[in-house]
C-alpha cells in the first residue's frame, strides 16, 4: 500500500465543480497553500473546479490561499466561524456584493459537526448558540433542565490538509498548532488529500504518536519546504 502521488496535480485529481471541500488550518497555521494553489492553477487552465463550497475556520486572508480561490471566482459558499482576518477583502467584497454565500457556525460547533461527520453521528445537541440568531430554525431540546440546540454533521467531498510528517500508508503528524481542524477533516471527507513536509516508510512514525491514522487518508504528496500563509501575507504575497 502506497498512498503517495507524484505531484500536486495528481494529488488534486477528481476535485470537480460544485464540490464541498474542507480545507485545514486556522489562520495560517496548517493552511495547505501548495494544494490550494494547485487547484487555482487547474481552474485557471481549465475553468474547473468552480462553484465550490469551502469549509474552513476563516474565509481567507490577503491574496493567497483561500482568498486567492475566492478572488479567482471558484467559491460560491463559505462555511466558517470567523470570516475576518487581517486582510479580509477577497471575501468581504464578494459577500457584500451578494456573490458568495456564508453559513456562519460557532467555532466549537463547526469542529464538532466535522467530527460528527467523520464519526457517523448524524446529529448531536450542544448548548452553544441556544437562544441566539445562529440557532434560528434549529430544533431544540431540554436535557437535565438545560436547553440545547440540535446540530447536524458536516461532510465533504474532499479535504485538503497540511501535515508535518506522513508515512506512505497515510499516517500523519502535524506541526504544533497547525493540527487544529485537520484530524477532524481527514475523517469527514470522502477524498482526503494531504501535503506533508516529509514522507517516510511505514514504521518510521511511532504508532503512539500518530495523530491521524492512515485509514482517514486517501493521497499523500510531499511538499518539502511548504509555504506558511501568515509569513506570505506579512510580505504582501499575492497568488494570481
Amino acid at each position: 500500500m502506497d498512498k503517495t502521488v507524484p505531484d500536486l496535480a495528481a494529488a488534486i485529481a477528481g476535485i470537480d465543480d460544485g464540490m464541498t471541500l474542507m480545507i485545514g488550518g486556522f489562520g495560517g497555521a496548517g493552511a495547505p497553500i501548495e494544494l490550494i494553489h494547485a487547484l487555482i492553477d487547474r481552474f485557471k487552465a481549465t475553468g474547473r473546479p468552480g462553484n465550490l463550497t469551502l469549509i474552513n475556520n476563516n474565509a481567507g486572508n490577503g491574496r493567497i490561499g483561500i482568498a486567492a480561490m475566492i478572488d479567482a471566482g471558484m467559491v460560491s459558499k463559505m462555511v466558517c466561524s470567523f470570516p475576518r482576518s487581517s486582510d479580509p477583502r477577497a471575501f468581504t467584497e464578494k459577500y457584500l456584493a451578494g456573490e458568495i454565500a456564508l453559513e456562519l457556525v460557532p467555532q466549537g460547533t463547526l469542529a464538532e459537526r466535522i467530527r460528527a461527520g467523520g464519526a457517523g453521528i448524524p446529529a448531536f445537541y450542544t448548548p452553544t448558540s441556544f437562544g441566539t440568531d445562529l440557532a434560528a430554525g434549529k430544533p431544540t431540546a431540554e436535557f437535565e433542565g438545560r436547553m440545547y440546540v440540535e446540530e447536524r454533521w458536516l461532510k465533504a467531498d474532499a479535504a485538503l490538509l497540511k501535515a508535518e510528517r506522513a508515512d506512505t500508508m497515510g499516517n500523519l503528524t502535524y506541526r504544533k498548532a497547525a493540527r487544529n481542524f485537520s484530524p477532524l477533516m481527514a475523517a469527514a471527507a470522502r477524498l482526503t488529500i494531504v501535503q506533508a513536509s516529509e514522507v517516510v516508510a511505514p514504521g518510521e512514525i511511532d504508532p503512539e504518536q500518530v495523530i491521524t491514522p492512515g485509514i482517514f487518508v486517501t493521497r499523500v504528496v510531499v511538499v518539502p519546504a511548504p509555504q506558511q500563509e501568515e509569513a506570505l501575507i506579512r510580505v504582501g504575497a499575492a497568488y494570481q
Binding site: G120, A187, P207
Partner: protein, 222 residues
C-alpha cells in the same frame, strides 16, 4: 453431504478482500480469515480496542498484554501501525471508514438482518462491538456454517433471535454457498459443485434467487 471446513470458509471470504483494504474481523472464527490473504495482497486490520495494522500473535511467552485485540488475544504490530482511543476507534467503524467487516452469526435473514449476540434471555448478555460493526463498514459479511449443529437453517426468512442489526449484511460465506443479500433477497452466487440447487434450497430457510451466473464454490483443501 460434503461441506467446507471453517478454514475453507475463511479462505473463501479472504479472496474477496482487496489489497490495502481496512478490515475488522469479529472475535473467534472470523479471525481465521487473516491467515488466508492471497499472495501480494495485504489488508490492514482494525481492532475495536484501538489498533490499526496489527499482525499475528506473538510466540508463547512473548506476549505483551498491553498489546491485545478485541478478543483479548496478544497480537503484534506491523510497520505503519497506529494506536488511538476507543472513541476514535468507533469513529472508524461507525463513520464508514472500514472497507469490510466479517462476523460470525447465529442467524442471518434475507432482509439482511443479523442475529449474532444473544441466544435469548438466559444467562449473562454481552454485546461488545458487534452492534457497532454492523453499521458503517462498506461491506458487512458473515461467515457461518450453512445450518446449525442440529441441522436447522441459519439463513432464514426473518431472524428469531435478538437482532444485532437491521438490514446490515450484504454477503454470506457459508459452508455450502456464497450468497449476496440484495433488495431483501438471498441471491445465490456460488455453491459447492456436488450439490444441486434444490438440495441447497432444502437447507436454506428462505428462497434463493438463482440467476444465470451461479459459480462453483471452490477452495483448496485446508
Amino acid at each position: 453431504m460434503s461441506k467446507l471446513s471453517n478454514a475453507q470458509i475463511a479462505w473463501r471470504a479472504a479472496q474477496d478482500i482487496e489489497d490495502g483494504a481496512y478490515v475488522n474481523l469479529g472475535i473467534g472464527f472470523p479471525e481465521m480469515v487473516a491467515k488466508f490473504q492471497p499472495p501480494g495482497r495485504q489488508a490492514i486490520f482494525h481492532t475495536e480496542n484501538g489498533i490499526l495494522n496489527f499482525g499475528e500473535s506473538p510466540a508463547e511467552g512473548e506476549e505483551d498484554w498491553d498489546l491485545i485485540n478485541a478478543g483479548k488475544k496478544a497480537v503484534t504490530l506491523r510497520p505503519g501501525a497506529a494506536f488511538f482511543h476507543h472513541a476514535d476507534s468507533f469513529a472508524m467503524v461507525r463513520g464508514g471508514h472500514l472497507d469490510v467487516a466479517i462476523l460470525g452469526t447465529y442467524e442471518v435473514a434475507e432482509n439482511g438482518d443479523l442475529a449474532n449476540w444473544s441466544t435469548g434471555p438466559k444467562g449473562v448478555p454481552a454485546v461488545g462491538g458487534a452492534m457497532d460493526l454492523v453499521h458503517g463498514a462498506k461491506r458487512v459479511a458473515v461467515i457461518t456454517d450453512h445450518v446449525t449443529k442440529d441441522g436447522r437453517p441459519k439463513l432464514v426468512k426473518r431472524c428469531s433471535l435478538p437482532l444485532t442489526g437491521v438490514g446490515c449484511v450484504t454477503r454470506v460465506y457459508s459452508s455450502l454457498a456464497v450468497i449476496d443479500i440484495e433488495a431483501g433477497r438471498f441471491v445465490l452466487r456460488e455453491k459447492l459443485a456436488g450439490m444441486s440447487i434444490d438440495e441447497l434450497q432444502a437447507v436454506t430457510g428462505a428462497e434463493l434467487l438463482v440467476t444465470a451466473n451461479v459459480g462453483d464454490l471452490v477452495t483448496p483443501e485446508l
